[in-house]
C-alpha cells in the first residue's frame, strides 16, 4: 500500500482570503496582511502579517497596534471544511480511496487528505508523474500544498507536516523518516507535549525505545495506538469519502460586495469547487445556479432578498474559463437590488461521459463545439432569442413562409436531422440555382421582406419615393389564409425603380373590404412588400 497525504498548512487562512474582495494584482494580494482570531487571540497569520511582527498567541489589540492595516477574521471550522472538500474531490480523479485525516485537536478543521494510490501508479505512469498530476489538479484551487508519501496512512499524514515532506515508498524508509519526526505531530503527543518535553522525549524514536506498558499508563492507550499505526504494526482501516449526488457550496463574503466584479471574484472560487466535484465523477455540467443573498435593506426586513442566476449550457462543459465567461455576461446584465453578503452555487443537472480527445488540428467536432460556445457567449450577453435560425414554413403568404427560431433549440440535435435536410436542400439548390427552367420553377421571391407599405398611384402607375415604378412581371396571385385571421388576396408584380432595382409590389384584390380610414390615407391598393436583394 502506498499512501499520499496532501496537507494544506495554510488552509484556514486561504479559505478566509477567498472571502475577501480581490485587491487587484497578485502582488497586492500577497502583501496584504491577514490574520485569524480565535477567542480574541491570533491563531495564524500570513507571511505579510508575520513580516510586520504579528504572530500566533498575540492579543487582537497588540496585532492591530503592530499592523493597523491588518485584516482580521474569525477562524471558522465549517468554512475550512467547505474549502477542503474540493481538494478531496480533486483527489478522487486519481483514486477512489480518498479519506480525510481526523484533525489533531478535537473541534479544529481537518486539513489533510489521504489518497491510497498503489493501484493507480501504473495507469498514471509512476509516482513522479502521479505527484505532478496531483499538483496540477490542485493548482486552480489556489492552496499551498505539502505532499508526502508513505506506506502507512497515519505515517503519511505525520510526514506531510514535516518540513520538507519526504517521499518514502517502502516500509523501512517510512519508519526511518518517522523516527526522526517530532513527537508533537502525534495527536495525543500534542496533548502531553509539556510532559514529553520535560522527560526529554523529542522524537518518535525516543518513544519507541521506552517500555510500552509504562507509556500506556502515563500517556494513555491512544498514543501507543497511533504510534503503532504510523509504524505499520497495527491495522489502520480508513473510510473512503463518497461524492454527494448534487453540488452545493457556499461562500460568505467578508465584506459586502457592491459591484459585480466583487461578486465574480467570489463566484470564481465556487466555480473551481464545482469543477473539482465534476472532475471527481468524470461529469460535465449542463446547468447550474448562482444564488446571491443580499443585505437586508431595512431593519424590519426579515428575509433578505436573494437573486438567482440560472445558467444553462447547450453543450455540457467543465471548462472553468468558459463557465466564468458566461457567468460574467449574465452578471453584467443582472440588476442587483442590494449589496451581496453570501454566494451559493448549486448544480444537479450533470451528464457523465468520456472527456473529449485533445486534437492537434481542428476537426468537425471541435469546430461544432467552438460554434456552440460562440452562440452561448452571444446569447449570454445579448439575451436569449437574439441568435436565431431561419426556418422555412409551408405557407403561401410570404410573410408567413419564413420564421426565426432560437438557434439553440434547433442546435440540440446536432447533425442527424439537420444534416439530412441540408443534403436534400443542397441537392435541390443545385438543381434550381444555376438555370431555373422557365415557367416550371417556383416564381421568384425577394430576399428582403418588409411590412407592407402603401404606395400612392399616379396615372395608373404606383409611385415609390415619388417616382413611378415600371411593372415588369406578373401578376402572380396569392390567395390564402381564409382559415385563419390573415386572409390575403393579392396580385404580386415585380417592378423596377428608375435606377433598375427590382421591388416586389402587390395590389390588394379586395380594396372594398379594407377600412375606410386607410382609404382616406390615399391607399390605392398598391403595397410595397419586398426588395430583390
Amino acid at each position: 500500500m502506498l499512501w499520499i497525504a496532501v496537507h494544506l498548512p495554510l488552509l484556514s487562512l486561504e479559505s478566509f482570503a477567498a472571502t475577501l474582495a480581490a485587491s487587484g494584482s497578485d502582488e497586492a494580494e500577497a502583501e496584504r496582511p491577514i490574520a485569524l482570531l480565535e477567542a480574541h487571540r491570533i491563531v495564524s497569520a500570513n507571511a505579510a502579517a508575520q513580516a510586520l511582527g504579528v504572530k500566533a498567541g498575540l492579543k487582537r489589540a497588540t496585532a492591530l497596534a503592530l499592523a493597523p492595516q491588518i485584516v482580521l477574521g474569525q477562524a471558522d471550522a465549517e468554512r475550512d471544511a467547505q474549502a477542503l472538500l474540493p481538494v478531496a474531490h480533486a483527489a478522487l480523479a486519481f483514486t477512489p480511496a480518498v479519506s480525510l485525516q481526523p484533525p489533531l485537536q478535537p473541534g479544529a478543521a481537518t486539513d489533510t487528505v489521504l489518497l491510497e494510490v498503489q493501484a493507480s501508479l501504473r495507469y498514471f505512469g509512476g509516482l513522479e508523474r502521479l505527484l505532478a498530476a496531483i499538483h496540477g489538479a490542485l493548482r486552480p484551487l489556489g492552496h499551498l500544498v505539502h505532499v508526502a508519501c508513505a506506506t502507512t496512512a497515519e505515517g503519511a499524514a505525520i510526514l506531510a507536516r514535516v518540513e520538507p515532506p519526504p517521499c518514502c515508498t517502502d516500509l523501512a524508509a517510512t519508519r526511518a523518516a518517522l523516527a526522526a519526526a517530532p513527537v508533537w505531530l502525534l495527536g495525543p503527543g500534542r496533548e502531553h507535549w509539556e510532559a514529553l518535553q520535560g522527560m526529554g522525549l523529542q522524537r518518535l524514536d525516543d518513544l519507541l525505545g521506552l517500555p510500552r506498558a509504562g507509556l500506556a499508563r502515563r500517556f494513555g492507550e491512544g498514543l501507543l495506538v497511533e504510534l503503532d499505526r504510523a509504524f505499520g504494526r497495527r491495522p489502520d482501516p480508513r473510510e473512503p469519502i463518497a461524492v454527494p449526488p448534487s453540488f452545493e457550496s457556499r461562500l460568505e463574503l467578508f465584506a459586502r460586495a457592491d459591484t459585480t466584479d466583487q461578486v465574480l471574484h467570489g463566484a470564481a472560487v465556487l466555480l473551481e469547487r464545482l469543477i473539482a466535484w465534476l472532475a471527481a465523477q468524470h461529469a460535465f455540467v449542463r446547468r447550474f445556479r448562482l444564488l446571491m443573498h443580499h443585505e437586508a435593506r431595512w431593519q424590519s426586513e426579515r428575509t433578505p432578498q436573494a437573486t438567482a442566476l440560472e445558467i444553462a449550457l447547450a453543450e455540457p462543459s467543465r471548462d472553468s474559463a468558459h463557465l466564468l465567461l458566461l457567468l460574467r455576461e449574465q452578471l453584467a446584465r443582472a440588476r442587483l437590488p442590494a449589496p451581496t453578503l453570501e454566494l451559493r452555487l448549486q448544480a444537479e443537472d450533470i451528464t457523465r461521459r468520456a472527456p473529449p480527445n485533445a486534437e492537434l488540428f481542428t476537426t468537425t467536432q471541435s469546430e461544432h463545439e467552438g460554434l456552440t460556445r460562440l452562440i452561448e457567449r452571444l446569447q449570454a450577453r445579448l439575451g436569449p432569442g437574439r441568435v436565431q435560425r431561419l426556418v422555412a414554413l409551408e405557407d403561401h403568404r410570404p410573410e408567413r413562409a419564413s420564421a426565426l427560431c432560437d438557434a439553440r433549440a434547433a442546435g440540440a440535435g446536432p447533425e442527424s436531422r439537420a444534416g439530412k435536410k441540408r443534403r436534400r436542400n443542397g441537392a435541390t439548390g443545385v438543381a434550381a440555382n444555376p438555370s431555373p427552367p422557365a415557367g416550371a420553377a417556383m416564381p421568384a421571391r425577394p430576399v428582403w421582406l418588409q411590412a407592407a407599405e402603401p404606395l400612392p398611384e399616379r396615372a395608373a402607375r404606383p409611385l415609390l419615393d415619388g417616382r413611378p415604378l415600371q411593372l415588369l412581371s406578373g401578376p402572380e396571385r396569392i390567395e390564402a389564409g381564409w382559415w385563419d385571421s390573415g386572409l390575403a388576396g393579392r396580385d404580386y408584380f415585380i417592378a423596377a425603380t428608375p435606377e433598375g432595382a427590382l421591388v416586389w409590389i402587390y395590389r390588394e384584390r379586395l380594396p372594398l373590404s379594407r377600412d375606410a380610414n386607410e382609404e382616406e390615407a390615399g391607399a390605392s391598393g398598391w403595397f410595397l412588400h419586398g426588395r430583390f436583394g
Binding site: 452571444l378 436565431q388 426556418v391 428582403w448 418588409q450 413611378p468 436583394g533
Partner: protein
C-alpha cells in the same frame, strides 16, 4: 541567395532568370531589380494587383474575379460594401462565396439584417437555410457597442465560415479598424455593409466597393479601394436573373427611353 549580384557582375555566363526573360526591352533595369513578387508575397508594384498569402474565394463573376487581387474575395480581412439601400442585388452578388462556405460545412452568420429574410428566396439562391444564423444585436436598448462586440466575437472565434454584417451608420474609423484586426483570425470571407456616405471617409479594410443598381438584374459595381491601381470604370455585372427574358427586354426598353420619364418627374416636382 547570391544569384542576383552574380548575375549583375557576369551577365553572359548564367542563363537569365525566367522572370526576367520576358522583359528584354529594359535589360539593365530588370536585372538590377527583380520582380518584387518573387521576393516576398506581400510585395507588389504599383501597377500590379496585390496578392495575399491566403487564397481568395471565387466570386462567381468572371469580370469581378479579374479585377480583384488574387482573383476573388479575400479571406481574413473585411470587405467593405457601400450601398444606397438594401435590395439592389447585393445578396445575389454575395451568394456564391457564402454558399461555398456552407457547402464546406461551415456556418454562415448574418448580423443585423435590415429587413426580414425570406427563406424561399435564399433557398433558391442555393443557401442551406437551416444552417443560417441570424444575430440581431440592435434590438437592445444600448446601441452601438453591442453589435460590434458580437461581430468581433464571431470573427475572433475562427469557427464561423463566413460573416455578413450590416454596420450601424456613421461608424468611427477606429471601431472598423478593431473589426479588421479581429478578422485576421477569421478564415473565410467577411462582408460589412455600410451606407454610401462612408465613401468620403478613409477605411481600414483593404477592399472597398460601392454598389448601385445598373438596370434590371444588373449591378453596377465600382471598386473604390483595392490592393492595386484604382479601377476607372465601374463594372457591370449580370446577376442571376429574377425576371424572365421577355420581362428583361421590356425593362431594357423602358430604361433606354429615360428622358421622357425624367422630364415627367421634373415637371411633376415643379407642379
Amino acid at each position: 541567395m547570391d544569384a542576383v549580384p552574380a548575375a549583375v557582375s557576369t551577365p553572359p555566363r548564367r542563363p537569365p532568370l525566367p522572370a526576367l526573360r520576358a522583359e528584354r526591352e529594359g535589360p539593365v533595369q530588370a536585372r538590377v531589380r527583380p520582380a518584387p513578387e518573387t521576393l516576398h508575397p506581400a510585395l507588389w508594384l504599383g501597377h500590379q494587383l496585390g496578392r495575399s498569402p491566403a487564397r481568395a474565394v471565387a466570386t462567381g463573376f468572371a469580370a469581378l474575379d479579374a479585377e480583384l487581387p488574387d482573383g476573388g474575395w479575400p479571406r481574413r480581412v473585411l470587405s467593405e460594401l457601400l450601398l444606397p439601400h438594401p435590395g439592389i442585388g447585393e445578396i445575389r452578388l454575395l451568394a456564391p462565396p457564402l454558399v461555398a462556405a456552407q457547402r464546406e460545412g461551415r456556418p454562415v452568420m448574418i448580423f443585423d439584417p435590415p429587413a426580414d429574410l425570406s427563406a424561399a428566396a435564399l433557398a433558391s439562391l442555393g443557401f442551406d437555410v437551416d444552417q443560417l444564423l441570424v444575430v440581431n444585436t440592435r434590438a437592445r436598448v444600448v446601441p452601438g457597442s453591442d453589435s460590434l462586440w458580437a461581430l468581433e466575437q464571431a470573427l475572433k472565434s475562427g469557427h464561423v465560415g463566413a460573416v455578413l454584417a450590416w454596420l450601424p451608420p456613421r461608424l468611427r474609423a477606429e471601431r472598423l479598424r478593431r473589426l479588421q484586426l479581429a478578422a485576421h483570425a477569421h478564415d473565410g470571407v467577411a462582408f460589412v455593409m455600410r451606407e454610401l456616405q462612408a465613401a468620403a471617409r478613409p477605411t481600414a479594410s483593404p477592399l472597398r466597393l460601392s454598389l448601385a443598381a445598373g438596370g434590371a438584374d444588373r449591378l453596377r459595381l465600382a471598386i473604390l479601394k483595392r490592393r492595386g491601381p484604382p479601377l476607372e470604370a465601374p463594372l457591370q455585372l449580370a446577376l442571376p436573373p429574377v425576371l424572365s427574358e421577355a420581362a428583361r427586354r421590356r425593362a431594357r426598353s423602358a430604361l433606354q427611353a429615360p428622358a421622357r420619364g425624367l422630364r415627367e418627374a421634373v415637371f411633376v416636382n415643379l407642379a
